[in-house]
């Protein structure tokens, strides 16, 4: 840790890890309900566990993004943060928002609008937190006068995320119109500006971990961002299938979402190329695992599995089945969970005391068990979804009867989700078992810091 104020990142990561653990509790509960009968039918029905599962994901991933940004910006701009106090105020406000939202969901206090269930007061707090965050980061960069491309991409991604949240605050009388604008937030986040954030973190990590040339990495970062937006913005159309909008969105959605993997292929080549040409053997090999893993898992989950059901004539049959759950789990995990875990793994040796820079064997177990578990979960959703499409959509078997026929895949889902959960538990344990390094600590800095500041 070169700048003392970077230590705020620890507390962001600590909150993120706690909520990640909680997210999995509700995920496993939801999965168990697929087997049924449900003893909690009138205490915690599926709609409640599911809404908490997805909302915790969004909250903790954003917490991770914020923590990682507070870690990265001082490094890139070579300065202390504008205000650590503001960063802590923001974290407290943000965590309170997240926790009260979850408690509210237990009592069905929410908007019932998929993924945007946060009640209006909570949405307003989200906006306030975003503003504090952007202000703090902008002031830090302004103060230093050093503004790198990587940072610029990250900042633009964060700023656009805040702007794209605004349509979610409005009310629409027509259900179809409300669907239309809901995707401006959700789709343009996950397949647009969040990809920018992810690409910026990835560029940062690759430059630091592999010693790749900044000039080259940042040039390709532009290309990747360009590809993401060319495909992603008009690719929004794949959410406009079958919802009551004009038909021209069908071919547009098919064509542009078929282009979406291009950016992800570029990102994988980019990551692989960087380690091949690596001029620097950074000791934190575990962080490199997470970084390269993120690029490859994104290509698999977001790219290939998205492509698998994005063409209108295919989607006509798969729309609204477990095929979507297959794609959703693998894509979100690869692109956003893994990049946050990569940033945490990279920063943790500096943020905590006595942690070996190269990572522990526990850390590697966490990595491989998560990868294995999530891959298995993806296959379970895929096989269940394929079965559902054929039985229910093509053969015309009733929904409830078809679900009974695919029970075995739900057993597989729970088995592989358990492996995944153990991997996550190990990661969380590995994170918390070393005490944080406080600002007052006057320890000698690690040698690698020198290598970092050269980059």
């Amino acid at each position: 840790m070169q700048y003392k104020s970077q230590s705020v990142a620890y507390w962001y990561f600590a909150v993120a890890m706690t909520l990640f653990g909680l997210q999995l509790v509700f995920g496993l509960l939801s999965a168990a309900k697929y087997l049924g009968p449900d003893p909690l039918l009138y205490i915690l029905p599926f709609d409640v566990t599911k809404v908490i599962h997805t909302n915790l994901l969004i909250v903790w991933v954003l917490t991770g993004f914020m923590g990682a940004t507070y870690w990265m910006v001082p490094d890139e701009s070579r300065t202390e943060l504008h205000s650590t106090k503001l960063a802590y105020v923001q974290l407290v406000l943000w965590t309170l928002m997240g926790v009260t939202a979850v408690i509210g969901y237990l009592f069905r206090y929410g908007t019932g609008n998929k993924l945007l269930e946060q009640p209006l007061p909570h949405k307003i707090v989200i906006v306030i937190c975003m503003l504090i965050f952007l202000y703090n980061i902008s002031m830090t960069i302004k103060k230093s006068g050093r503004f790198t491309t990587t940072e610029g991409v990250l900042l633009l991604g964060l700023f656009s995320s805040a702007v794209l949240f605004l349509p979610a605050l409005l009310h629409y009388e027509n259900y179809t119109v409300s669907i239309f604008y809901r995707w401006w937030t959700i789709h343009l986040w996950v397949e647009g500006v969040w990809m920018m954030i992810m690409a910026a973190f990835m560029a940062y990590l690759l430059i630091r971990l592999s010693g790749a040339d900044r000039e080259v990495m940042e040039k390709w970062l532009y290309v990747i961002v360009g590809l993401v937006f060319i495909a992603g913005i008009l690719g929004t159309a794949h959410h406009y299938y079958w919802v009551g909008v004009p038909s021209y969105w069908l071919p547009i959605g098919g064509f542009f979402s078929a282009l979406e993997p291009a950016a992800l292929v570029a990102m994988s080549i980019y990551a692989y190329g960087a380690i091949r040409r690596a001029g620097l053997g950074h000791p934190n090999k575990l962080a490199l695992h997470w970084t390269i893993g993120s690029a490859l898992f994104t290509l698999f989950g977001a790219g290939l599995l998205g492509l698998a059901h994005t063409w209108p004539s295919v989607n006509k049959w798969t729309h609204g089945t477990l095929i979507t759950a297959m794609h959703g789990h693998a894509a979100f995990y690869g692109a956003y969970v893994m990049i946050v875990l990569a940033m945490i793994t990279y920063a943790a040796p500096s943020l905590t005391r006595n942690r070996p820079e190269s990572g522990s064997s526990l850390g590697y177990w966490a990595f491989w068990m998560q990868i294995t578990g999530m891959f298995g979960m993806t296959l379970s959703f895929a096989t269940a979804g394929i079965g559902q499409v054929y039985l229910e959509r093509i053969m015309g078997m009733g929904y409830l009867d078809a679900q009974l026929k695919i029970q075995v895949h739900f057993l597989m889902l729970i088995a592989t989700a358990s492996i995944f959960t153990i991997g996550v538990a190990l990661f969380i344990y590995d994170f918390f078992r070393y005490a944080p390094r406080f600002i007052s600590d006057d320890e000698p800095q690690l040698n690698v810091v020198d290598a970092r500041s050269n980059a």
């Binding site: 449900d38 004009p246 015309g396 009867d401």
Partner: protein, 283 residues
């Protein structure tokens, strides 16, 4: 490509995409009202939408295929189930489905009668939105077209009665074959609620063995209708389903059958004859 060119590519590509996207958005706005029959969004429908949100329906069900995947899609539900059925269902789902059999059950939501009525109005509005004919085949809640899945019709898709999936018939065909065609293509389709497989009761009772049951019933003390023979009983069941009620809370309430009425108007006399002839074959 140098750094500056790469930046230009990103900025120009993004800018162009944003422009096209905004242009199409503007154009879509000029079409929304027509595609969604916005003139039919009454205060009742709007309230129904609020009910849909208030009870978090979308985190189990899907609507337009969007939502969670734990419960059936409801896009076309009002075309598969009559209002009376849906009303009775939402008062207490456990009267219709057995959690031990299907391993899932919708928890009772304690909706007010007004909430139920308005929710149905909202779902009915949804079912009429022009959404490119999705789903391509009806998504059933339970039961199924099996056996007979080879000829599942594209009934709810608006693709018309000549969909390729339905075995075509001509006037030269046997009346019972023509009747089978009516069974799958009438609006609402008979097979959306009735199977012809023994024991496979869907929203309506199975029609397997209907001729045998009718023969026993007509003339017995249990029979409440006006028919005097099997064909007459089947015809009466189609055009006046409440004349004689089949026992069961899931089929009727307050002396009225949940089966939709109006087939007398929507079917021609010949189609009705053919349908009766077809159903009378289920001994």
């Amino acid at each position: 490509m140098n750094n500056r060119q790469a930046r230009m590519f990103a900025i120009a590509g993004t800018g162009l995409s944003v422009l096209i996207f905004l242009g199409l958005t503007l154009h879509s706005h000029s079409k929304f009202d027509e595609l969604t029959n916005a003139e039919n969004i009454t205060p009742q429908v709007t309230h129904g939408k609020d009910v849909w949100h208030k009870y978090n329906c979308i985190n189990c069900h899907t609507l337009f295929g969007e939502g969670a995947y734990y419960a059936p899609d409801l896009t076309k539900i009002t075309q598969h189930r009559g209002a009376a059925y849906l009303q009775a269902y939402m008062r207490d789902p456990s009267k219709f489905y057995d959690e031990n059999k299907h391993r899932r059950l919708m928890p009772k939501q304690n909706l007010s009668e007004e909430e139920i009525t308005d929710l149905i109005a909202f779902l009915d509005w949804v079912s009429k939105v022009d959404n490119q004919g999705w789903p391509p085949r009806p998504i059933l809640v339970t039961g199924g077209f099996i056996p007979g899945s080879d000829s599942v019709g594209a009934v709810a898709s608006g693709e018309g009665t000549a969909a390729a999936a339905i075995r075509p018939v001509t006037a030269a065909d046997d009346p019972r074959a023509q009747g089978e065609h009516v069974f799958r293509t009438a609006t609402p389709a008979c097979n959306a609620c009735h199977s012809t497989a023994p024991g496979a009761n869907m929203a309506g009772p199975t029609l397997a063995g209907i001729a045998t049951r009718a023969a026993e019933l007509v003339g017995s003390a249990l029979y409440k209708g006006n028919a005097t023979d099997v064909e007459g009983y089947i015809r009466e069941s189609i055009i006046a389903p409440s004349n004689h009620l089949v026992a069961g809370d899931m089929y009727s309430a307050n002396g009225a059958s949940f089966m939709p009425i109006g087939y007398e108007e929507t079917l021609t006399a010949e189609q009705l004859d053919n349908l009766v002839a077809y159903l009378a074959t289920f001994k």
